[in-house]
Amino acid sequence: MELDLFIRYGPALLSGFGVTILCWLVGSIGGLVLGFLLACLYRFGPKALGWLIYIYVEIIRGTPFMIQLFILYYGGPYVGLVLSPMQAGILSFIIYGSPYFSEIFRSGFNAIPKGQIEAARCVGLSERRILMRIILPQMLVPTTAPLTNFFIILTKETAILSVVTVPELLYETQTMAAETFTFVEPFLVLSLFYWVLVIGTSWVGERVEARVTRHLRRV
């Protein structure tokens, strides 16, 4: 392994890693927020809206991420939406993730026993309070594990952003490989970076889960 290769390309790889983390964090947190709003609207909004959300969820889940990205990046300008690769990448990431997040939250809502909500109504708590004080805090229990899991899946989906020239990790790795005619080393480094991201995410997920299920532990 040639060390000077990594000295030369190290900064580019690191910057690629940084861009990957940025796109991943902003994209998936954005997707989480949008997904949460969708789940709330689906549950508490009018019926017609529920149908629209259902259709949205099915369409986005039914198409590959790369196609969505292409449509947004290359098709956007036709409707006056001109985006930089990074903007298009992050925006499509948000759109792509939102229905999965929304489904996780939707099943999280359903996991709260109806009796608990009835008990809350019986003592006169308002629907808003029931959401804030009874439903949301408990939703963390069934949703933390699937959310962590989906965050992990999304770490690797960021690689697709390279097709619209977002200078993320895969893009930089491919550049290095093409310019130096090495393949094993750059892709080993790439794997290492993703691995760090995955391990880190699952570590955080476990901490959060331990925290939010504390009250269920029998002592």
């Binding site: 008990a119 019986c122 006169g124």
Partner: protein
């Protein structure tokens, strides 16, 4: 005439009916619950006991007739209109504060401690400060003999203790009537007694209670009247002696009690 106000039943059910789609769950139920009275509802499974109870605090919207709480129509804006219009959420919540309810499955909020379960509505419905609410919640927990468990989460309470916390949660709101839906049916036999004795104490202190139960001993000894439901109809509502002390006249009541006697013999 002056007595009218105090003589008025706390709950008046007038020709109430309830449908689930086409299915008639309750038909033409008329029933009064008086102040400080303990009324037990008994009857076969599926006869509509829970439905009747849940109509009293509008957890189920009854269709026909009226349910009055201290003279005020529950849930609907007016009994006459057709179709009926439901009260605003705000108005319904105000009514419900006067009706406590205890469920078969306890329905405590598992992410809150015993104390927090009891204090929640004191803070967020009654608007008490945290300190005052906790004081009140402690008093309620003391009433159900659980002072030492206030910091426990429901997962670390026995079924009997959970049910007593649920009772404390309801009585802390100082309701004028308490509804119980088979409060001991989900409990191990050795835990039934502690819950029944708390309920007995409440009855002795003059709480108005409507209790759906399969505990015939409780019905026989604590109830002022026992109502028997069958297929959504109120068959009879009489003092317990008339049901348990002699052979009941109505063949449905007779058959129902017979199954209990047989089970107890074994």
């Amino acid at each position: 005439m002056g007595d009218n106000l105090t003589d008025q039943p706390i709950i008046q059910v007038r020709n109430m009916s309830k449908y689930f789609d086409e299915f008639e769950a309750l038909r033409d139920v008329t029933l009064d619950v008086h102040r400080s009275e303990v009324l037990c509802l008994i009857g076969p499974s599926g006869s509509g006991k829970s439905t009747l109870l849940r109509c009293l605090n509008f957890l189920e919207a009854y269709d026909g007739g009226e349910v009055l709480l201290e003279g005020e129509l529950i849930g609907w804006k007016s009994a006459g209109a057709s179709p009926r219009k439901a009260l605003s959420g705000e108005a319904l919540r105000r009514q419900r504060q006067h009706i406590g309810m205890v469920f078969q499955q306890f329905n405590l909020w598992p992410h809150l401690t015993a104390l927090e379960n009891v204090a929640e509505a004191l803070i967020h419905v009654k608007g008490l400060g945290k300190k005052q609410a906790h004081e009140k919640a402690r008093a309620a927990l003391a009433k159900v003999n659980l002072s030492d468990k206030e910091k426990n989460y429901p997962a670390n309470l026995s079924g009997g203790q959970q049910q007593r916390v649920a009772i404390a949660r309801a009585i802390a709101m100082e309701p004028s009537v308490m509804l119980f839906d088979e409060p001991t049916s989900a409990l191990d036999p050795e835990l039934v007694g502690e819950v029944l004795s708390v309920m007995k104490e409440m009855a002795n202190e003059g709480m108005t209670m409507v209790v759906v139960t399969h505990e015939m001993g409780f019905a026989a000894h604590v109830a002022d009247r026992v109502a028997f439901l069958d297929s959504g109809r109120l068959v009879t509502c009489v003092p317990p002696a008339e049901i348990f002390g002699q052979v009941p006249e109505d063949p449905r009541v007779r058959a129902f009690l017979q199954t209990y006697r047989e089970r107890n013999v074994v």
